[in-house]
Symmetry: C2
Subunit: 223 residues, 2 copies
């Protein structure tokens, strides 16, 4: 079994996801870990602009990357980028590659929940309604325009390697909800160990581990 | 340009190296970063045993991985595992893949230096003389048998995901030298931010960035 990661969107988020995949695999020695193939192409055109106004087109690069991982024999492919999930149905159909869907994993985790849940992500992810359409039962709370600007700034800071700056912006971006979904893969790097957040990359990592026949360690996200 | 990483030996060391490659690339946005392909196969048979007594043979798996990265179009391939560098001359010749040599990069950095330098690595790396033969001008100081057991324990702890345990063993493994080379890629994870160590993966990352036409940020290892 080979776990594929279609990454680079952004690169630090991909490295963090790979580290998480390793940390969440129950293992005593190298040979207990998953075989992993990563195609990380940070030159994929901007996903947010593609969703918001169609001024960019990341799809050909995503399809090319999926094909490379499929040809390497990936048994399952994860995309540690929420906004790119907008393209997932088309990508899965066109490539025939076996994807695991981070938004679907998160929806499954949230099943049965009602009440307010914060949604912190790019303007593309929010405008596409990725989470709102998948989990209509909860009351999604998105940031104010000022708060969204802090989310945007946190994501941009992480992308240029400024984790401390990202954390400062993230701290000012909170919404009024008992739990917030970190719906952008740069945000876990900025959020640190806050207990009030649900990090879908945790769920994505565990799904990949299970599908590859491995055993996730018992680290539960907040309920 | 595509940077290839032949990794998984171990997996946490590969994730750390990938994160380092990103952190050391001067970039303002995703698209400034390197395109990276990683083949991480933790099931490669034990490298240390192969060097010490030939009871394992990692070579076929290493050659297969190098071929995959070459076929993906890697312009340069890094191996974030010192012990595996024992096989590098044969691997480069057989695969025709364009490797960057971490031991050679470290030798270049140490050029002109004399006096004691600590060598902390696996028993395989030390027995193979990877550093001693490449840099004969310095006085290599290897740990006592008790110290080497601490190095072995630090490496094993990191491989099973116990970074804190690795750090505790590493702290007891020091040798009497003003600078020590972390000649095993698990050790930077256990060593933290100690100022008295030279981490060859820093030099490997910068070499990869330069060969891909990127610009390393100005983070110098200790002189």
């Amino acid at each position: 079994m080979i776990a594929g990661i279609l990454g680079g969107m952004g690169p630090a988020a991909t490295a963090e996801f790979y580290a998480k995949l390793i940390a969440r695999t129950a293992a005593e020695r190298d040979q207990d870990h998953l075989r992993v193939a990563i195609w990380a192409d940070p030159t994929v055109p901007d996903r947010v602009a593609a969703v918001l106004d169609g001024s960019t087109d990341p799809y050909p690069a995503l399809l090319a990357g999926a094909g490379k991982l499929r040809d390497l024999g990936a048994s399952v492919i994860a995309i540690p980028c929420h906004t790119a999930h907008f393209f997932l149905p088309r990508l899965a159909a066109d490539s025939g590659a076996p994807f695991v869907d981070m938004v679907a994993e998160t929806a499954e985790f949230l099943a049965g929940r009602t009440g307010p849940v914060g949604l912190l992500g790019t303007r593309g992810t929010i405008a596409a309604g990725l989470y709102q359409r998948r989990v209509p039962e909860v009351e999604w709370v998105v940031p104010s325009e000022a708060g969204q600007r802090e989310v945007d700034a946190a994501v941009a800071a992480v992308k240029r390697g400024d984790i401390a700056g990202g954390a400062a912006h993230f701290d000012r971006a909170r919404v009024d909800a008992p739990l917030s979904v970190l719906a952008c893969t740069e945000l876990p790097l900025a959020a640190g160990k806050s207990g009030k957040v649900l990090d879908p990359t945790d769920l994505l990592a565990d799904a990949v581990i299970r599908r590859c026949g491995g055993k996730p360690v018992d680290v539960r996200p907040p309920a």
